[in-house]
Symmetry: C2
Subunit: 140 residues, 2 copies
DNA sequence: TAAAAATATGCAACAAAGTTGCATTAATGT
DNA sequence: ACATTAATGCAACTTTGTTGCATATTTTTA
């Protein structure tokens, strides 16, 4: 199963025209295997000690995946970035949910945030961040 | 004018039953004089060197003001907390706007976030964070 | 109004998350 | 296989926020 994710990751990376490196395949493979948005730290946990990957490299890979549209970054109140592959959510803007007990973050792909919010005169909207916080099904 | 803010600050603090200290009055006075949410760093700037105030004390005062309902914390994508007094916005949940050029953050008191967002089965909402990002009137 | 009690403040040291510069290594095109 | 280009690893750093504890300030009480 993980092999399939890695093959898929490799194919996705190839499609961008960027270099196919073992680190990128590893990280994107991990993201593809997840149903939720995961943090830098969680990715490191899943990597384990077999294939050590420098913190900085991981930051750069995640940044690169975001830039290429293969993943997106989710910002949260705990000052941790989380990442989720775009293949399930599309790249449109959507809301997120964060469980205040287990800190799980999921994409609420159905809640699109492109709605035109009323702003003071002269203000222009570019992007919207909407996070619902509460308890997930497992914690409620 | 600043004197008035300080008097008002003192009165607000007295009303909570907490101790009226010069540090608390100073910080709340600064918040009262602001039309936007300001960061820890911005508060320190406004204090200047006359009345030095320890970083840690400032953190604790802002936390205390929030707990007492005199101010609220605004979370943002730059990992900085910003604070705004509650007297203009009320303490209800509302959206915020962050200018992506000058980083100004304002409260959008008219946009209440208590709307019942559709969540997956079993999920429960407690709090909603909604930030519109774009250009403010001065930067647009 | 002076001492006692309760609470706030300052300082030092720390922690977590992310950034930068640069030398080394690996991937790709020829 | 070699040259070129881009990715990686490492060390040092920055920013933002936290913790523990001694000292100072408020408030209460006598
Ligand atoms: Mn998402
Ligand atoms: Mn606000
Ligand atoms: Zn949960
Ligand atoms: Zn602006």
């Amino acid at each position: 199963m993980l092999v399939n994710f890695n093959e898929q990751a490799e194919e996705m990376i190839r499609h961008t025209g960027g270099r196919i490196t073992s680190c990128r395949v590893l990280v994107l493979g991990i993201l593809l295997a997840e149903k939720k948005a995961i943090s830098h730290h969680e990715i490191e946990e899943r990597i384990g000690d077999d294939q050590p990957l420098d913190r900085v490299t991981l930051y750069r890979i995640l940044e690169w995946l975001s830039k290429k549209g293969l993943a997106h970054k989710v910002i949260s109140d705990d000052r941790k970035w989380r990442f989720r592959t775009n293949i399930y959510t599309g790249s449109h803007q959507h809301a997120h949910f964060k469980c205040s007990r287990c800190t799980t973050v999921i994409c609420l792909s159905d809640i699109k945030t492109e709605y035109c919010w009323p702003l003071p005169p002269g203000y222009r909207s570019q992007e919207v961040e909407l996070t619902v916080k509460g308890l997930c099904a497992a914690c409620a």
